[in-house]
Symmetry: C2
Subunit: 418 residues, 2 copies
């Protein structure tokens, strides 16, 4: 008889129960942090109309989408949680109170080339704050402090947020008369960290930019530091442009609001290399890194957008949002042993009745222990006591053996299982 | 500008935040009950190889499967959680302790015709107990008492479990020399409740069964009641067959174990009409109904199977399992107002700083309240105080207004929001 391959598909995470418990711990910690920061949980379907999912998507995204094969239907699996959110906000706009602080924790699908630490099915944990027509800048700091609280609760205090504001670069390029090349230059800056500076310069030169302006752009991308440091560097650039000034002021305000929340100067670093993609973001942009593990890359990123739902409505829904890639984060934290030690035993107590005569008392004991929130199993196998204890030691922290005497006296002993 | 339809696809549940909170309450209650009964949570991918998913599936199932449209791939969305579990158990059999008590809570997909209360994407909440080679009968009662505990915790005590054992019918038909028609007769009994008795008789007659045997089968299907009632009725049938006797004894043992757990006689009813599909189950079968809401139908069902994973391995993995269709259950309970009253307000406290000068104190206040587990939002809109209070009343139970005086004294007042 030919048997079928039982491994999960490549690029799909599947965990043994002990690791799954660790994963669930991380997922619950994130969900609890989001809820305590005032975000309301919603769930959107995993499947949606192709016209909804691809309304804004470019060619690269489209190539990665999992399309469904159903007659007369044009449906696909969601590749992020933001597109379904935009549909949701428009659909229920009359039932929602704005600003609407939403969180979604759910699976998304991308047909990327599978590689270590990259997944085709993965959880995203998103928060978004959506306004109607306007949304106060303080909400940008609200989103960032929510993600920093996640890492604080994980006892990972050595993280830092790299933050910028898209208006600064666009104002800067306007002042250099390079506004028509904003998209290409943004793209080059976005990749500047991954290539030698000469390559960046040569890419800028290929766009026909003068040597003098190239030097100015390079100087711009090197602006990095705390609020005071960058303030003086921005002044040195002597740029007279409204977007530039607005962007700088917004960046300083957000940094100041984060300082008021107790974040240290070395945890919030302005950095003009931060772009975060091309078209979507229009103000604050940020990414979050773990100081001791730069190789993990950004563990949470997001920013401010002008309008969440321009494909679906003429109403204006400005917003600011952030996403943690949970599956990848779990993979990295688990590999580096950065998750708090949780018990390797999934259950609290295993009850072992010595014979069927002790089942009823065992049921009662289990019931009262469960009422105190304990995870309790009763072992019904017909094996010898030694084998039952061996099994109990694999699944539980403690055991209770129930025999004639325990039933008679109503008294039992909790034994540790090593 | 043509705008895109923003409603979710037909057959896909999508809830406003208040209803979502109620849904999450039900989901968490089920997950907690399962965990406290000793089941270990696992997660399997939503997508799997078609050969895995369809290894056991018949024609009807295959018609409902959502296949993916990916070049050179033969993949589909899971239509239940049992098939992925069987692959999982075989794949990780050396890492698991048996009996393995597993729970999965996840979305499955079926392309059924959409109708009221039926969904194409829905949550199943499964528990399964898997043995190696053998599995004690007491685990059948373990699974059933887990589901009854869910309804007890929901304060729905008016439920009852209809229970049977597949060996009884097969032994009975062997004794009538009708073993070769077991599958067809099972199918007819499975549908007997939905049609007039004359139709059942006529279907049996179409199979060439004698009038005398038809009367015996009808008498058999009318056996229903508590342990003592059915005992005497089974004796009256005077059947001399090993499967029959084994099935009756197993049924009585499981009922007795459930009685020992405090379930009332009217909550556990043996009923020979219970078949639960055709091929899968081999022993105990059961379904769960809400006494006052028969129209909802079975809210949880399951049974004992001989071998979980015969498609994947020659090893023997006998098991017993059960599934709650969460999405449908939520739909029904919510419609009948059977879910415990939860607050309509998603958050505990809304903090309203009167100006930017009070942001820092507001941040501190929010932080200390969140440390006690409260869900807290700070309102940063530039609206008038009355508008802010109106917004706060929509999202939170209580408000704290922070002005100059609160910052100076460190004392603030919690105001109820009606």
């Amino acid at each position: 008889m030919t048997k079928i391959n039982t491994s999960p598909l490549s690029g799909f995470m599947e965990l043994t129960p002990t690791k799954q418990a660790r994963f669930n711990y991380l997922k619950t910690l994130i969900a609890t942090t989001y809820a305590e920061h005032g975000f309301l949980n919603i769930e959107t379907p995993t499947i949606d109309r192709t016209e909804v999912l691809l309304a804004k998507a470019g060619g690269e995204t489209k190539k990665q989408v999992f399309f469904l094969d159903r007659p007369d239907k044009d449906e696909a699996l969601r590749y992020d949680l933001t597109v379904p959110l935009s549909r949701y906000v428009v659909e229920y706009r009359n039932d929602l109170a704005f600003p609407f602080k939403a969180t979604q924790i759910g699976k998304v699908y991308r047909g990327e080339r599978a590689q270590r630490g990259r997944f085709r099915e993965f959880y995203q944990c998103d928060v978004d704050i959506i306004g109607r027509t306007t949304l106060d800048l303080a909400y940008d700091a609200d989103v960032i402090s929510t993600v920093t609280d996640v890492f604080t609760r994980l006892n990972i205090s050595d993280f830092y947020v790299r933050i910028s504001n898209r208006k600064i670069l666009s104002g800067f390029l306007q002042a250099l008369n390079l506004a028509d090349k904003t998209s290409e230059i943004s793209n080059i800056i976005d990749h500047a960290e991954k290539v030698p500076q000469e390559a960046t310069k040569s890419s800028l030169k290929d766009l026909g930019i003068t040597t003098q302006n190239i030097e100015k752009i390079i100087a711009f991308t090197e602006i990095r530091g705390d609020k005071d440091t960058i303030s003086s560097k921005f002044t040195q650039l002597s740029i007279d442009n409204l977007d530039f000034t607005t962007g700088v002021n917004e960046l300083k305000t957000v940094m100041s609001l984060l300082a008021q929340q107790g974040l240290r100067e070395d945890q919030i670093i302005a950095d003009m290399l931060i772009i975060r993609g091309l078209d979507y973001y229009t103000g604050t942009v940020f990414e979050t890194l773990l100081t001791d593990y730069p190789e993990i890359g950004s563990v949470a990123s997001g920013g401010r957008y002008e309008n969440l739902a321009s494909n679906f409505t003429n109403d204006s829904f400005p917003g600011v949002g952030m996403s943690i890639g949970l599956t990848r984060l779990f993979f990295a934290l688990n590999e580096k042993n950065l998750l708090p030690a949780t018990s390797e035993k999934p259950l609290d107590i295993a009850i072992i009745p010595l014979s069927e005569a002790e089942y009823e008392f065992s049921y009662q004991t289990a019931k009262s222990l469960r009422q105190t929130g304990k995870k309790v199993d009763i072992i019904f196998t017909d094996k010898k006591l030694g084998d039952k204890l061996g099994y109990a030691a694999k699944i539980a922290e403690q055991a209770i053996i129930i025999g004639e005497n325990e039933v008679k006296t109503g008294i039992y002993e909790l034994r540790p299982l090593s």
